[in-house]
Amino acid sequence: MSLSRAKIRKRQRMYVIGAILLAVGSAAALMLTAFEDSVVFFFSPTEIAEKSPIDPDQRLRIGGLVVEGSVAKQDDGQTIAFVVTDMAESVPVSYRGILPDLFREGQGVVAEGHMNSDGTFVASEVLAKHDENYMPPEVAESLKKSGYWEEIEAKNAEQMRN
């Protein structure tokens, strides 16, 4: 079966477009993989531990869950200290400023700042990270009672690690 000239042209155009898309797609994939460290928004405490010691002049973001019971006001009455964890490693954070409404223990946060020489992360900005779960208060209550809540929190910590 022989194709007409017009049909051959159309087929050629289809192949060319397919090839160009493949090339652009792989170029984008390679670029994004190469610059992964700049594409990620924050590092997890595990990654911080792997990278340490980190230059105190380097600004970076750290993300994780606020450890239950770790939030404390320092003696000066302005600095807030808390520990951020991904359930594998944890990093102490100190911060002076206004915390977002969603900031609470067990909640995901992303802090921007630098690593101190003593291993404390000095944050200049703290953002709350919301997870993907949406539910009415009653459902949240019953989840907490039935023990599913720990599962959700463990999952959130895992996402921070990835």
């Binding site: 208060p137 996402q159 990835n162």
Partner: protein, 262 residues
């Protein structure tokens, strides 16, 4: 397939669909707004701020959906040189751009009270902004040439290359860690949104999708009719030195209506 994509067939088939689809859009969005603003519970953490999601998520879906539609139409117009595909792509761009902008604005309004910031340069937000720029670039490019065919060639190429961004937007939250939360609806373990909140979300998503098709049909019909009028003008049908300008315009209108009925 090409038989059904003839402009005259498009005009004939979409005429009866249009009123039904418009009515469906109104019903879906009205019901969706009722359930999103009144008939759904507050979130355990966000309170009433969760209601922004019912605009934000459907707008984000439409931004991606319209882009995929535009890129497919662009490919069809490049490969088969089909005029209808090109018209569809051109008609989709401003709708998709509006939805993308709506998604970015509502997301920003949500981010301020929830995250504590209007904007961050994380992978999801940045790739969504690039999506908006792709739409704007497409619209600028297709209209940048005197010869519309060259414009649509360049625009289709841009739309196709930019399609690489669509999976990046969708999977950015899985591939990299972002401030933006991971997918809530289309994900492996099923939706992470409570069933009581899924109803308004589904209604709004369907409503927005129907709205897009209504606008698409209207815009394509308009363009097809305009092209017919231009062709008739060129053929000298409206040339009549006897008639004054006002009467000429009336004849133009009459011709326009007659065209639309065909």
């Amino acid at each position: 397939m090409h038989r059904f994509a003839k402009p005259s067939v498009f005009l004939k088939f979409t005429a009866p669909i249009l009123p039904w689809l418009s009515a469906l859009t109104v019903v879906l969005i009205a019901a969706g707004l009722y359930f999103s603003l009144i008939g759904s519970p507050v979130d355990y953490q966000q309170g009433h701020t969760v209601r922004i999601m019912y605009i934000h998520v459907p707008a984000a879906w439409m931004g991606l959906f319209c882009y995929v539609g535009m890129a497919i139409c662009g490919a069809m117009s490049l490969i088969w040189k089909h005029p209808l595909a090109d018209i569809c792509a051109r008609a989709t761009a401003p709708v998709g751009a509006t939805f993308t902008a709506l998604c970015l604005i509502t997301g920003s309004l949500w981010g301020e009270p929830m995250w504590g910031t209007w904007w961050v340069w994380d992978a999801r937000l940045t790739s969504m902004l690039i999506l908006l720029f792709l739409y704007l670039g497409y619209m600028a490019l297709v209209n940048a040439f005197d010869d519309p065919e060259r414009g649509s060639k360049a625009g289709s190429a841009l739309a196709l290359v930019g399609a690489v961004n669509v999976p990046i937007v969708k999977f950015s939250v899985d591939w990299w860690n972002t401030l933006h939360q991971p997918a809530s609806i289309v994900r492996m373990d099923g939706p992470a949104v409570d069933p009581s909140m899924q109803l308004p979300l589904a209604l709004m998503i369907l409503g927005f999708t129907c709205y897009y098709f209504v606008v698409l049909i209207l815009r394509v019909r308009l363009e097809l009719n305009e092209r017919r009028i231009r062709a008739l003008h060129l053929s000298g049908m409206f040339e009549d030195p006897e008639t004054p300008t006002s009467a000429k315009e009336q004849a133009y209108e009459a011709g326009h209506n007659a065209e639309a009925k065909q």
